[in-house]
């Protein structure tokens, strides 16, 4: 389990980073919590790693007029500790405690998690449930993409060659909003078997498809009927079990005051 040889660059500015990312065999390195294991298992062997952790433009959490803006390099631990997040994005505050273990939360970043788009990860589902906006830049321009359109499939996003995810903007929660995050894991910190990020009428499941699954809230029965018929089985849970468990979470969220 030794990574194949690669070159390493730690740019100090965005232009420098974009120049390096022109190389089609370059890969962005953020917290490394997903990428480094993949390299060590030789599932991926890029020529160049572009370590973005030295880019100040990608860091920090700030309160904007209508949103909380979280820089891509913000770690799970920083989100967990952030008062602004707790106050204005309670769904994310609930979800972050379910992301991995303390040591991983110290290094893993929200940008890395969203860019990776693991179907069982918490943030993508929260981003969709909250109708948040992803801020993406390349050498020349910045573009903004709604979360719902960002996640395309299994580990597949709208990010294009040479682009960086720089931040994500979560709308501010209003009085009377209801946010519930629930997930089932056999062990604390594991990726979820199935999870639910529910914000008002938007019920978003993780672990039920190759990307977050958005259900429209109707009656409980009607909402349940929208659950995917054949969610992908995992090693320990058949498709039927996952569907059953999703139904249980839906009911529990429904009944949460």
């Amino acid at each position: 389990m030794k990574a194949a040889a690669f070159a390493y660059l730690k740019p100090a500015s965005l232009p420098e980073a974009f120049a390096a990312l022109v190389n089609p065999h370059a890969k962005v390195l953020a917290g490394g919590q997903s990428l480094i294991p993949a390299l060590n298992m030789r599932l991926s062997s890029p020529e160049l790693l572009v370590d973005i952790t030295g880019l100040p433009d990608l860091a920090g959490i700030s309160l904007q007029a209508h949103s909380i803006k979280i820089g891509a390099l913000t770690t799970h631990a920083q989100i967990e500790a952030c008062e602004l997040v707790r106050k204005h994005v309670p769904l994310l505050a609930q979800a972050v405690r379910h992301v991995a273990h303390a040591a991983i939360r110290n290094r893993g970043t929200i940008g890395g998690s969203l860019a990776l788009a693991d179907p069982a990860a918490e943030y993508p589902a929260c981003a969709v449930a909250l109708d948040s906006v992803l801020v993406i830049r390349n050498k020349a321009t910045e573009r903004r993409v709604k979360a719902e359109r960002f996640f395309k499939g299994l580990f597949e996003t709208d990010l294009k060659q040479g682009e960086l995810l720089v931040a994500v903007e979560f709308p501010l929660a209003k009085a009377g909003d209801k946010s519930v995050f629930l997930e089932l894991t056999r062990r604390h910190g594991d990726y979820a078997i199935v999870g639910l990020a529910a914000h008002n009428e938007r019920m978003v499941f993780l672990g039920l498809d190759s990307k977050p699954v958005l259900l429209q809230k109707k009656t409980l029965r009607q909402t349940k009927d929208q659950l995917p018929r054949n969610p992908p089985a995992d090693l320990y849970h058949s498709s039927a079990t996952k569907r059953h468990l999703a139904g249980v979470l839906l009911e529990r969220a429904w009944n949460t005051p």
Binding site: M1, K2, A3, A4, A5, M41, R42, L184, R186, R187, H188, G189, D190, Y191, I193, L235, Y236, H237, S238, A240, T241, H244, L245, V248
Partner: protein, 795 residues
């Protein structure tokens, strides 16, 4: 000699036991925590080469062609070798033992020669200057395979339709039948008969430090030094010697710090033998460290049983008989040199063990399959035997409408009935089932818990309480391996040396795996000699410096190694008093040793500091009488032999809550009452129990090596193979009954495996107790949410 020998100070002096029974911290903990451990991978030797293995991607396939051309051109590659190349340097082995009658297994090579029999079996070895370079070359090896039919299912294996090793005739590695007679009659006259089939998943021991070996062959001396993460240095010395054709005395095995073993590191592994052979072949040091993925694919797996068991009882709640049929699958080879027949054999020996029924029948079939090999892992056979016994006992109690604790009380062997011969033939010196049961029920507030359970059920909360009584093999005599022809020592030795400064050095053949053995040896030595703990240094894990012995396995370190240390310490103390008597010109009987000094036996007046005794003995022996020679290095050995095994007993309880919507099991609390004889260090003993319980919980709820029908290991990594983790573990309450063995002076029995032996059964019974109001049961471990939901017919 027996318990009367305690206290450890010479008779007639103080009535304290020195450091015995005290929770002193182990001396190596600080060093390990500071990152100053010396594991195999920490070693740097000049000209060190690294080996990695090309492993079969198929569960069963003929090697048609190996092509190394491209990989040989890679930077840093020293050589790439096939099984045939390596067989020139390392002879094959066969994992059988004479006392397991009829056991058979084909010869196994360090690297497979023309056929791979499980996914992960090594078929080529790549040696390079660095591990990364070796892995680069590994990716370029090309192999042409001819896939062969696979035998994955144990029932299919038993049927023998497809035979894995044609020359053996069938797939049965080992079979045994045991019958006291009268079983059918007992079942015929029983008021109640219960039957169940239990299944146990295949799992493995996950060590923090993966298997590691560094072999350093010295051509000038034709000698081999092996730095090895192992539990049994002397066993490995013998094996390297015989399979590599190097005189035993020229092989030195050094096991410095070992990062956990659990039975994983007590077997002969083909890749490790190949590493040693490559060192001889290349005449330079070669290192192999298994990575985590290879660990899952090649470290021994364990368990995988399917057992049908029946129990006959009277209306009054007396158990009359047990009858069982165990089928277990071990992969394509019986593991050398301990064999893969022992676990099933233990199931036959131990099932029903705590109870006083007289009729017993057991049938065992151990079969080959095309999965990784299985062999002895912590608590060998016990978790199966205990869960079977306790699962069927609970079912009988339920059918009789009797409280499970009360049903056990009626059937446990009486504490006064010893020595006792169990219907399987094993003998118990002295057990304390009733004392343990009583202590357990008191500790857990059993009646209150039952009340609470009833109340909560009305609120649709499903709590369950599970009990598991058990017996456990510890301190084995030569009956375990030696009588079967294996060169595995049942005796161990300890050398104690008084240094000139009054320090004591202990060299013992039992090894340290991270469990604290060196700590208790220091406690025993300090107590036996009469010095303070800080004066003792312990050396283990080196065949060149310690006495000969078996090492660490079968819960034998404290009971056997500890006794050798004790006897050696007492002998050294006596020799020291001889010198003191000569120096002080006093009668030896007037003297004793306490607090690092020779003292007057009665008044405790300090007579001679030990450093003064050492100074005279080593540097001024001319001042001692002409005919007197000081002997300040003493060696003693110990072998248990009165009983085949020194059985221990205990009982565990688990309290769980089952979420009947999700099938999740929440572990609320666990209790373990254990009688392991003399408790040398309560803190270490409780750590052993708790760690063991957690491993048993792993078997019950989480751990299983999953294979596809084609024989691919599906979850061989730390993300997908679920080891139990701290957040899910309950508080584990430990308590002790102390019935010392009278075979030794120390009185210690073993404790390292007890937790693992009892926990799966206790958790299973708790889950089934929780599910009882819904009239469903689960019987296949691990109890995943899906299995529970299926039982509840929710999916």
């Amino acid at each position: 000699m027996g318990r009367a020998e305690l206290p450890l100070h010479a008779p007639g002096t103080k009535l304290e036991r020195g450091y015995i029974g005290r929770s002193v911290p182990r001396p190596n903990a600080k060093r390990l925590l500071q990152g100053r451990g010396a594991y195999v991978d920490d070693l740097r030797l000049p000209r060190l080469a690294h080996v990695v293995f090309y492993r079969s991607p198929h569960a069963h396939a003929r090697i048609k062609k190996l092509q190394f051309e491209k990989s040989l051109k890679c930077e840093g590659v020293i050589g790439i070798f096939s099984g045939k190349d390596i067989s020139q340097y390392c002879t094959p082995w066969v994992g059988v033992l004479a006392h397991l009658k009829g056991i058979k297994s084909p010869p196994q090579h360090a690297v497979a020669i023309d056929r791979a029999c499980w996914q992960g079996e090594a078929v080529a070895a790549v040696v390079a200057e660095t591990r990364a370079q070796a892995e680069d070359a590994l990716g370029l090896i090309e192999v042409q395979w001819e896939e062969l039919p696979v035998v994955m299912d144990m029932e299919a294996s038993l049927s023998g339709k497809e035979v894995i090793h044609k020359e053996l005739g069938d797939n049965i590695c080992f079979a045994r039948a045991h019958d006291t007679g009268g079983v059918d009659e007992a079942f015929a006259r029983a008021d109640v008969v219960v039957e169940e089939t239990f299944e146990f998943g295949r799992h493995t021991g996950v060590c923090l430090e993966t298997r590691s070996i560094l072999a350093d062959y010295n051509a000038a001396e034709h000698s081999l030094t092996v730095y090895h993460s192992t539990q049994a240095p002397h066993m490995m010395q013998d094996i390297f010697s015989r399979h590599l054709d190097i005189p035993e005395a020229s092989v030195r095995v050094i096991a410095r710090d070992v990062g956990g073993s659990f039975g994983i590191k007590v077997h002969v592994y083909p890749d490790e033998m190949a590493t040693a052979a490559l060192s001889v072949m290349l005449r330079r040091p070669v290192k192999f460290v298994a990575d985590r993925l290879e660990s899952f694919a090649t470290d021994i797996h364990a368990r995988e049983h399917k057992v049908k068991i029946r129990l006959a009882a009277t209306r009054a709640g007396e158990i009359l008989a047990f009858d069982l049929d165990d089928l277990t699958a071990i992969g394509p080879y019986s593991v050398y040199p301990r064999t893969s027949g022992i676990e099933g054999n233990q199931v036959v020996n131990l099932t029903g063990g705590p109870y006083k029924h007289q009729k017993y029948r057991a049938k065992l079939n151990v079969v080959f399959t095309n999965k990784n090999v299985t062999c002895q892992y912590r608590a060998v056979g016990h978790p199966i035997a205990v869960a079977l016994t306790e699962g069927i006992v609970d079912k009988a109690a339920a059918k009789l409408g009797m409280d499970p604790a009360e049903f056990r009380r009626r059937n446990l062997i009486a504490d006064e009935a010893y020595p006792y011969t169990f219907p399987s033939g094993v003998k118990f010196e002295k057990l304390s089932h009733h004392k343990c049961l009583n202590l357990l029920l008191e500790k857990m507030h059993y009646q209150e818990l039952r009340q609470e359970q009833i109340q909560l059920r009305e609120k649709n909360i499903f709590r369950g309480i599970g009990l598991a009584a058990m017996i456990e093999v510890t301190n084995p005599s030569p009956a375990f391996y030696g009588v079967g022809g294996a060169r595995i020592s049942a005796q161990d030795g300890a050398t104690l040396r008084l240094e000139p400064t009054g320090m004591v050095t202990v060299m013992c053949s039992v090894t340290e795996q991270g469990q604290g053995t060196e700590g208790i040896f220091a406690q025993i030595a300090a107590s036996a000699v009469g010095v303070s703990l800080d004066k003792v240094r312990v050396i283990t894990g080196d065949t060149a410096t310690t006495p000969y012995g078996g090492g660490t396995w079968a819960s034998r370190g404290a009971g056997i190694g500890g006794e050798a240390v004790l006897q050696s310490g007492r002998a050294l103390r006596s020799n020291m008093l001889d010198i003191a008597a000569a120096i002080l010109q006093l009668d030896k009987n007037e003297l004793d040793i306490a607090d690092d000094s020779v003292v007057h036996r009665v008044t405790q007046e300090k007579k001679l500091p030990l450093e003064e005794l050492g100074r005279v003995a080593y540097f001024r022996p001319d001042t001692l009488p002409m005919d007197f020679q000081a002997e300040l290095t003493v060696t003693r050995h110990y072998t248990p032999r009165q009983y085949g095994f020194t059985f221990t007993n205990g009982i565990q309880a688990s309290l769980v809550e089952v979420d009947v919507d999700t099938g999740f099991v929440k572990l609320l609390k666990h209790w373990c009452v254990e009688d392991s004889g003399t408790v040398i260090n309560p803190m270490l003993v409780d750590e052993q129990l708790r760690g063991g319980v957690v491993q048993g919980i792993g078997a019950a709820l989480y751990e299983e090596c999953l294979y596809s029908p084609e024989g691919q290991l599906l979850n061989g990594n730390m993300a997908d193979y679920l080891v139990p983790m701290a957040a899910e573990m309950p508080d584990i309450v430990c308590a002790h009954v102390e019935t010392p063995t009278l075979q030794s002076q120390l009185g210690a029995k073993g404790v390292g495996e007890a937790g693992t032996a009892g926990a799966p059964g206790a958790v299973m019974n708790a889950i089934n107790d929780a599910l009882a109001p819904l009239n469903v049961r689960v019987t296949a471990m691990p109890f995943t949410p899906e299995r529970i939901l299926k039982a509840l017919a929710k999916v």
